[in-house]
């Protein structure tokens, strides 16, 4: 896929990373288009999370570069939603305080913090009390608070690390609907790591399928299904065909 520099939000060149002498990435390249939702899917241990953790600046890389419009990750605003909301939210702060936290760290004035909090609550149609503590909320509500917290800083790039894997199916479906609608409204460049193929296809503009270590790209699949994609889209012929193709690629990548 060739992109002009203006369209590119994330550029990864020659990325290298090894764990205990075992290479995970040795010369990995990737360009992500601005406003795209990129899903990364691959076998266990292929380094999906490693990739976004390096991109988010949480994990040092051994070599290569990851640039955001020419800038390092420390120079841009990022949001990150962890898989385990129970361990990512601050249980000693109320839900609203959790969402205010990154805005305060940014130094936003109080009035703007409140305005953004209100805006997010409306956008996500929050009907529960944000003045509760996280442990008083359901799992889906807690993960929604995590997502709102990540979006509060109006990130240039959003990282989602298996955000729904700890939730039940019903909650996953409704949260997925909400999230895709908001991400498309705001046009936020997003990298989603998932081990659910359906979820990767339904949420993404582009699906990157990775091989076993050392990790390379097995397939780079544009997902041009129409938005919004509700649960019914899971039965559409376009979706079914894409899923069949991806499943085939995946089985070859795992067998290889």
């Amino acid at each position: 896929m060739s992109l002009t520099p203006r369209e590119t939000a994330i550029t990864i060149r020659g990325l290298r990373k090894a764990f205990g002498g075992q290479p995970v990435y040795s010369g990995f390249d990737l360009d992500v288009r601005r406003g795209d939702i990129l899903a990364i899917f691959g076998p266990n241990g292929c380094g999906k999370s490693t990739l976004i953790n390096m991109a988010a600046g949480l994990l040092p890389r051994d070599g290569g570069e990851i640039l955001y419009d020419g800038r390092e990750v420390s120079e841009i605003r990022v949001g990150y939603v962890f898989q385990n909301y129970r361990e990512a939210l601050f249980p000693w702060r109320r839900a609203a305080e959790n969402i205010r936290y990154p805005m305060r760290r940014m130094g936003l004035p109080a009035a703007q913090v409140e305005q953004r909090l209100q805006g997010l609550a409306e956008r996500f149609r929050v009907r529960f009390d944000l003045n509760r503590y996280p442990y008083e909320l359901s799992g889906g509500q807690q993960q929604l608070v995590s997502i709102m917290r990540a979006l509060a800083v109006e990130p240039e790039v959003l990282f989602l690390d298996e955000p729904f894997s700890a939730l039940d199916f019903e909650t996953t479906l409704s949260l997925r609907d909400l999230l895709q609608r908001v991400l498309k409204e705001l046009g936020i460049t997003t990298i989603l790591v998932s081990h659910d193929l359906e979820e990767s296809i339904i949420l993404a503009d582009r699906l990157l399928m990775l091989t076993r270590r050392p990790t390379t790209v097995a397939d780079d699949v544009p997902i041009d299904l129409p938005w919004p994609r509700q649960a019914e889209a899971l039965a559409s012929p376009g979706f079914v065909a894409l899923k069949a193709r991806c499943l085939d690629v995946f089985q070859k990548a795992v067998a290889a």
Partner: protein, 249 residues
């Protein structure tokens, strides 16, 4: 109300057993007086003010030792916990002195602080500080990694993470350390009051009562000391529930 029924019945059962032992003459009445006599002598001790004074002195010494121990143990423990490599370096020394019976340190502290108040409070503070330090350090070391990363990605600097995440993560463990610390401080203070030239305090009172064969009073003072330890423990459990409402949820 119902929550109190169990403990009340237990206490009543204990007193009845005691009374039964007295009736069966299990021991010489001088060594084992009836509960009523112990109660009456304890009551008299409180009525003339001397036992209340002794209790208050023990509370004061324990409280002071605990405050000193917390003021040293909490910040030092948190700081060491945040530098895990440094903590691993001093861990052996902390563990060693934590395991050393505090009573073995009396002679040393007597040389350092003299035979007055200082020694009693200092030994108790020393013992309690190590327990608090150890717990605070482990609380910080065991902080959830995800929360630290979350704070970092939201733009929190190192000191900010310490204040906004690590201390909170460690708080349940710090309070557990404080609870063990104050119990230990009480034990050391009572022992010190017995053997290091004292003129007041529960430890002083209990050993005096024993030497004067005031066995009713001796039992009474033991129960007062027990009640004090129990109350301090209960106080900290309530504090834990109040201040670490999120713990275990």
């Amino acid at each position: 109300m119902r929550a109190l029924t169990g403990p009340a019945l237990g206490a009543l059962g204990f007193v009845l057993l005691w009374q039964l032992a007295v009736l069966l003459r299990v021991a010489d009445p001088i060594l084992l007086p009836p509960p009523a006599e112990a109660f009456a002598e304890t009551w008299r001790g409180f009525a003339d003010g001397t036992l209340a004074h002794d209790t208050w002195r023990t509370v004061q010494r324990t409280g002071l030792a605990f405050l000193i121990a917390s003021a040293i143990g909490v910040p030092l423990g948190v700081a060491l916990g945040a530098q895990e490599k440094l903590y691993r370096g001093v861990e052996f020394v902390v563990d060693f002195f934590r395991s050393t019976p505090a009573s073995a340190l009396f002679p040393l502290f007597l040389i350092l602080f003299g035979p007055g108040e200082g020694t009693k409070v200092a030994v108790a503070a020393f013992g309690a500080a190590l327990v608090i330090l150890f717990n605070a350090a482990y609380g910080v070391i065991n902080a959830r990694r995800t929360r630290v990363l979350a704070a970092r990605i939201m733009g929190a600097s190192g000191p900010r993470i310490l204040v906004d995440v690590l201390i909170w993560e460690a708080l349940p463990q710090i309070l557990v350390g404080m609870r063990s610390g104050i119990s230990l401080a009480l034990v050391i203070v009572v022992v010190a009051e017995m053997f290091i030239g004292s003129t007041d305090g529960l430890g002083h009172r209990v050993i005096n009562a024993q030497m004067l064969f005031e066995s009713g009073l001796m039992y009474g003072v033991i129960f007062v000391a027990g009640a004090l330890g129990y109350a301090l423990n209960l106080l900290f459990i309530l504090l834990e529930k109040r201040f670490v409402h999120w713990s275990g949820r």
